[in-house]
């Protein structure tokens, strides 16, 4: 008999297991999100054109977007399991889908397509207006909806969610730093001959995310939809809490594209922070004058490119120094250590959006009442600015420490305790720089979205 302590398994809680196995999971949550999404779509496409008055804008950018990173941290990709787009995908496929195999091009390059789309959307937000413009937000949602429906019409399972959704990729990255994991018991699975979790059975369809739980070693693609919990005839699935960031410490498979996205998000969050600071318009004007550019969008594009490439180049520089101790190739080491910035990405994303949630949160209620013809105005903040600022500092500091510790653990796990510090040191310096820069952006007050 093994004396090894078994990790906590939430599926041992009988009522939770019953609920996760029931017809109502995740449907009950999906019905709510689909209903909310329908209102948001209608509001952003046909409601008030001023963000200040639009419930769709408030619900999306002041409530959902700020809350979503907290979800990822606490519950992994649970959001993806209850996402209204996933419901649309399932329905479209059920009614009209051709259920073709996913083309190799998409499987191979999906992450790059996501990387490019993510960068493009961030750029579009500043040039054309997405967040501050209800119609811009509506256009984005409409395009995503079209993308979801078109992929569901042609391809099997949730091809969009797994290979093409930019939020899915972001959530995949963030949830890897999170506190919850779903895994299968390998010993039990070794005796299984039916593979119902992947193929599906009369109790539930096969994994919509193309995952085989037995072989799953990270959270990137599991959306906690519960299908495998329902379909496994051997009760092999475990739902366990874990130490945040621990997934990165012992990764065996790394992907350059995932690391690239992680490091690009450093730039994206930085751009989002900088452009919302009160001095930004004056700074942009200074850039225009200095470079002799008469067009604000061109000046922004130059700044944007610098912000996107600088973190990538800095990480490459750190890798170039570090590989003298690790002996790894530049490509492999970049791919391995790129994941280390994810905790900082996540915490900066949380910190940035915490301001919108806590300083503008009441706007969601005001605009919601507007749906019923009740005009409400008033202060939008839940807590004072200094309190929010302290929370932001705590988050950024925690993220920086988390990232530095992750870099150290990756080095220790791959090159041994003796070499760990020397291999990790260049990354620690770069992460520290990212952390300080992020910290500084929260010293100045941000502009409102609503």
């Amino acid at each position: 008999m093994s004396s090894k302590k078994q990790p906590i398994n939430f599926l041992n809680v009988s009522w939770l297991k019953r609920f996760l196995k029931s017809y109502f999971y995740p449907r009950i949550f999906q019905w709510i999100t689909v209903f909310a999404f329908a209102i948001i779509m209608f509001q952003t496409l046909a409601g008030p054109t001023l963000a200040h008055d639009n419930f769709g804008t408030a619900a999306t950018w002041v409530l959902w977007w700020p809350l979503i990173p907290f979800f990822f941290f606490l519950l992994g990709r649970f959001w993806c399991g209850i996402c209204p787009f996933a419901w649309v995908s399932d329905m479209t496929q059920k009614l009209f889908g051709a259920n073709l195999k996913v083309p190799k091009f998409i499987r191979k390059n999906g992450l790059w397509i996501i990387d490019i789309t993510f960068i493009f959307i961030t750029w579009s937000d500043h040039v054309f207006g997405i967040v501050e413009s209800p119609r811009g937000s509506g256009t984005l949602l409409l395009l995503i909806l079209a993308g979801v429906m078109i992929t569901a019409l042609f391809f099997e399972r949730r091809t969009w969610c797994r290979y093409l959704c930019f939020l899915g990729s972001l959530s995949g990255n963030y949830s890897r730093a999170g506190m919850l994991e779903l895994r299968a018991d390998k010993e039990t699975c070794n005796t299984c001959t039916t593979r119902d979790c992947y193929k599906g059975n009369d109790k539930a369809p096969g994994c919509p995310m193309f995952e085989f739980p037995m072989a799953m070693e990270n959270n990137a693609s599991c959306n906690l939809c519960g299908s495998c919990i329902k379909s496994c005839p051997h009760d092999s699935i475990r739902l366990t809490p874990r130490v945040p960031t621990s997934e990165f410490w012992s990764m065996t498979r790394v992907h350059f594209e995932e690391s690239f996205l992680a490091i690009v998000i450093v730039g994206i969050v930085f751009v989002q922070n900088i452009t919302m600071l009160n001095f930004y318009p004056a700074f942009l004007e200074w850039v225009e004058q200095t470079l002799g550019i008469a067009n604000q969008d061109v000046a922004f594009t130059i700044l944007f490119l610098i912000a996107m490439t600088t973190p990538v180049l800095l990480l490459f520089a750190a890798t170039a120094v570090s590989k003298r101790y690790s002996g790894e190739t530049l490509y492999n080491a970049f791919a391995r250590f790129g994941y280390a910035v994810i905790p900082l990405d996540l915490s900066s994303h949380m910190a940035h959006n915490l301001f919108h949630l806590l300083a503008e949160g009441k706007a969601v209620y005001y605009t919601f009442m507007g749906l019923f013809g009740v005009h409400m105005e008033g202060p939008t903040e839940f807590v004072s600015d200094p309190t929010i600022q302290i929370m932001q500092y705590i988050l950024v500091i925690a993220g920086t420490i988390g990232s530095m510790y992750t870099a150290y653990r990756i080095a220790k796990g791959n090159y041994g305790a003796k070499k760990a510090l020397s291999v990790a040191m260049p990354y620690l310096v770069v992460i520290f720089i990212f952390g300080v820069l992020n910290y500084l952006t929260f010293v100045v007050r941000m502009g409102m979205r609503m």
Binding site: F96, N99, F128, L140, L142, L143, I150, N278
Partner: protein
């Protein structure tokens, strides 16, 4: 035969990005008429900058007009001026029609001589430049080209200046919605064909 396939992929990716750009571009262009985003004019002794928020005003939806007044000769902000916003008129061909289609919902002092714009030193937490005057809650009841007259009085003299304002329709962009729906329907038809072919093979 790798080369042509790779080129095709590149073309497809470029085209996809272009297609992705267009809806945002058309959305932005459709809602940002240059005439009402930021206009600068010299009038009398003043240099006047007019901006609206949102940049593209929509019919029957409240917006804010901001006027920054500077001394034309020195470039210094003009503070303490009396700035009156007159009833806006709608342009019909070359002649203006005297149609009072603009209203204020913010309870400003309104007289026959127009509505006084409030001088602002701050807006929320954001400091405003000196010489900034604002009118909140202005609404136009009809889409089209409007003319907004502003009377400025200060020790530098009294002058009237006119700003053209483009008011857009506030409804949804039906062209965009229709195009996206059309693309989905075409994809649906293609998928149905592929589905039939697949079932015939089986």
């Amino acid at each position: 035969m790798n080369y042509p396939r790779k080129s095709l992929k590149k073309i497809l990716i470029s085209l996809s990005l272009l297609v992705l750009t267009l809806p945002f571009a058309t959305n932005a262009l459709a809602s940002e008429p240059a005439s009402s985003s930021k206009i600068e004019q010299d009038t009398g002794a003043y240099h006047v900058i007019m901006q609206t928020n949102p940049e593209s005003l929509m019919a029957n939806q409240a917006g804010t007009m901001t006027i920054i007044i500077q001394n034309k000769a020195t470039g210094q902000p003009v503070t303490g001026a009396k700035v009156m916003m007159m009833t806006s008129t709608m342009k019909s061909g070359s002649a203006d029609t005297g149609m009072g289609g603009m209203g204020m919902s913010s309870g400003m002092d309104s007289t026959q001589g127009g509505t006084a714009m409030k001088e602002q030193s701050s807006m929320g937490s954001m400091a405003m430049a000196p010489g900034t005057y604002m009118m909140e809650g202005m609404k136009f009841n009809q889409a089209g080209q409007w003319n907004q007259a502003i009377i400025i009085s200060s020790p530098l003299g009294e002058t009237t200046t006119n700003f053209p304002i483009t008011v857009g329709k506030s409804g949804p962009n039906l062209v965009l919605i229709g195009s996206v729906a059309g693309a989905v329907v075409i994809a649906g038809l293609l998928a149905a064909m592929l589905k039939r072919r697949k079932s015939e093979k089986v």
